[in-house]
């Protein structure tokens, strides 16, 4: 369970149980403020105030046994865990690239810390690596501002993959980009995942991207996971009322039939409702929904849903 601290707590991510398997693309979907980016930061172990983890663990299985990320301090995470076992691709590439350093020096830094390579060796490895990802070799000699937005995002992806980490986290990696560029970048990302057979956890609000890329999908609402299942199944047979309304509200090309959105707004997480957090907006809510929190249960075939409508007693 994770919480933001100010003079009050915001229960931003609450009681999340989620497994990501080896060799899969797991999507985390949800709308602004649902806690999906916060969850990703916690998985990465980038927990600096105001983000405070009140309880819970994040475990990465490695060839040397389980790694309990949050039990390490930030310095240990930086030197032992990040890049090597788990890496993070943020939304805005400009935020992670140092504007005064050439791209090759970004690679050199990581390769020095984790593999002890000197500069010349590192430059060679970096050049080889970027060409494998379909980038021109010269990119490594450029400064970040000399590259287009799409190019920069590709560089950040190349950085995240250089140590062949077991887990790659991507937070809205292509949201700011044009759809044609987005398609190319996401294709690269998935080709690499298939090659490394690692785990890619992809956070985006864009349901289209989930439909095109993820094997399984977790739907978040107001800090909780409300549904998890195989992507095709969740899109074709959504069980949670929120998932259903979300998917049905999406306009599709070639279809002008009237669609309905959700009325109202998500709850204030400083003071979340006692029962199901979707109950105030749910057309099927009963007394029980307003009182008791539904647990995430398997309704068959590893399709999980947290809703009283689907919980047998």
């Amino acid at each position: 369970m994770k919480t933001f601290e100010q003079s009050f707590y915001v229960d931003a991510v609450s009681g999340v149980v989620l497994e990501a398997y080896e060799n899969e693309v797991l999507g985390i979907a949800g709308e602004s403020g649902c806690g999906k980016s916060t969850l990703l930061r916690i998985i990465y172990g980038y927990t600096k105030p105001p983000l405070v983890v009140k309880s819970g663990r994040v475990i990465i299985s490695t060839e040397h046994g389980d790694l309990d990320v949050l039990s390490l301090n930030l310095e240990e995470r930086r030197s032992k865990v990040w890049w090597r076992y788990i890496s993070y691709i943020p939304q805005n590439a400009m935020n992670v690239l140092n504007p005064t350093a050439r791209i090759r020096d970004h690679f050199a830094e990581i390769l020095r810390i984790h593999q002890g390579l000197d500069k010349d060796e590192a430059y060679k490895v970096a050049a080889e690596h970027v060409t494998q990802l379909g980038l021109p070799r010269d990119v490594i000699n450029a400064y970040p501002h000399q590259l287009s937005g799409g190019m920069r995002q590709r560089v950040v992806i190349a950085l995240a993959l250089i140590m062949k980490p077991r887990v790659v986290l991507a937070d809205e990696p292509t949201t700011a980009l044009d759809v044609v560029v987005q398609r190319g970048i996401l294709q690269t990302l998935i080709e690499r995942q298939r090659e490394l057979k690692n785990t890619l956890i992809l956070v985006t609000h864009d349901m289209g991207v989930h439909a095109m890329l993820t094997d399984r999908i977790a739907i978040m609402y107001a800090g909780k996971i409300v549904e998890v299942g195989r992507t095709e199944e969740v899109f074709e047979k959504p069980l949670h009322p929120y998932t259903r309304i979300l998917i049905e509200s999406l306009p599709r090309l070639g279809d002008k039939s009237m669609r309905k959105g959700i009325t109202g707004q998500p709850p204030d997480l400083r003071n979340p409702p006692p029962g199901c957090r979707f109950a105030p907006r749910c057309p099927y809510a009963t007394e029980r929904c307003r009182r008791e929190v539904p647990e995430l249960v398997d309704v068959g075939g590893r399709h999980y849903v947290a809703c009283w409508l689907h919980t047998r007693r």
């Binding site: 287009s148 294709q187 095109m212 095709e232 306009p251 090309l253 309905k260 959700i262």
Partner: protein, 326 residues
């Protein structure tokens, strides 16, 4: 008897930047007509395609260097003072970020009241309130819900409705909506789009909907113009353009949209390779898409393609030029 509500003839907007005044054609010889009927026209394009610049030209905020923009036969950029007042009443705007459209320290009601008093001309407070309430109800709100609130007290979807209501107060004939739903969550977007649909039907208002999202465009529009690097590469009835795209750019754009249909995955994952020399495209002499186009010939790089009409759709592409078919 009809006439056109809006007519753009060869409209060009040039921005200069840099020490030597490098000229940059943000909007390049655009032709567009909108009949005087309640229609929704989408201007679609990626970031930097010039769609917002074009919207600002239509609103009279930017003056084009070449060509002319006519609203009901009158040149938008040469209106006399009294005509300008009329134009402001007839053409209204809704922008992307509703929080940026309202002063956070002013109650939103004051915007509504001022519009009614200054532009609509209702001076009596009670009468004005009654009118404001009626308009707010058409977007699913009411005066009671809005009256004492500051912008920060609304959710994004609600405040965008207030912005639409404010635009509706003058009973405009045309509303220019620039990415009005792109900041909203998917499940709320459709509510705003439904408001547009209803206003069009009930009040007979026309819309120009500016967006990069072709799925929402399809949902509400009758017509579409696809922009690329400042030029309109294809325009016509939306069903025709989006179900049978003719311009190579429209084709690749449509293929690249990630649709919420997992069954279309394998098609979408088929590799695409594009060159990435973006900056040069704006100053290219011939077709701006030529450097990326799989069908480009030498002529495409040399000469600007003509506008060719094929079954109600206007395509700016050499592939459809009559002589190239022979």
């Amino acid at each position: 008897m009809g006439g056109n509500l809006l007519e753009l003839r060869n409209v060009t907007k040039i921005f200069r930047y840099g020490m030597f005044g490098f000229r940059f054609r943000a909007v390049d010889r655009v032709n567009l007509t909108l009949k005087d009927k309640p229609l929704i026209l989408t201007i679609a394009g990626e970031s930097g395609s010039g769609k917002s610049t074009l919207a600002k030209i239509i609103l009279g905020i930017h003056t084009p260097e070449e060509g002319e923009a006519l609203y009901r036969g009158r040149n938008i950029h040469k209106l006399r003072k009294d005509e300008l007042r009329w134009f402001r009443k007839e053409v209204q705007a809704v922008f992307q970020d509703p929080y940026a459209s309202f002063n956070p320290l002013k109650k939103v009601y004051s915007y509504l009241y001022e519009t009614v008093r200054n532009i609509v001309g209702i001076r009596d407070r009670r009468e004005a309130d009654k009118y404001i309430d009626e308009i707010l109800r058409s977007v699913g709100l009411s005066l009671e819900k809005v009256k004492d609130k500051y912008p920060s007290e609304f959710s994004g979807g609600e405040l965008q409705r207030v912005a639409i209501a404010r635009a509706l107060l003058t009973r405009p004939r045309l509303i220019i909506a620039d990415e009005p739903v792109s900041m909203l969550d998917a499940s709320l977007r459709v509510n705003i789009l439904n408001v547009f649909r209803r206003i069009r039907e009930e009040m007979g208002t026309s819309f120009i909907y500016i967006t990069h999202d072709l799925a929402t465009a399809y949902y509400i529009s009758d017509l579409i113009a696809i922009m690329y690097r400042g030029t309109v590469v294809e325009r016509g009835p939306i069903e025709k353009v989006l179900t049978k795209p003719r311009h190579p750019y429209t084709q690749i754009l449509l293929e690249s949209i990630p649709e919420p249909e997992p069954r279309k995955r394998s098609e979408w994952l088929k590799p695409i390779r594009l060159s990435g020399i973006e900056e040069k495209e704006f100053i290219a002499r011939g077709c701006k898409f030529a450097s990326r186009c799989p069908y480009a010939t030498e002529r495409c790089f040399e000469q600007e393609p003509p506008e060719v009409t094929v079954e109600d759709v206007v395509v700016k592409c050499w592939l459809y030029a009559p002589e190239s078919k022979q």
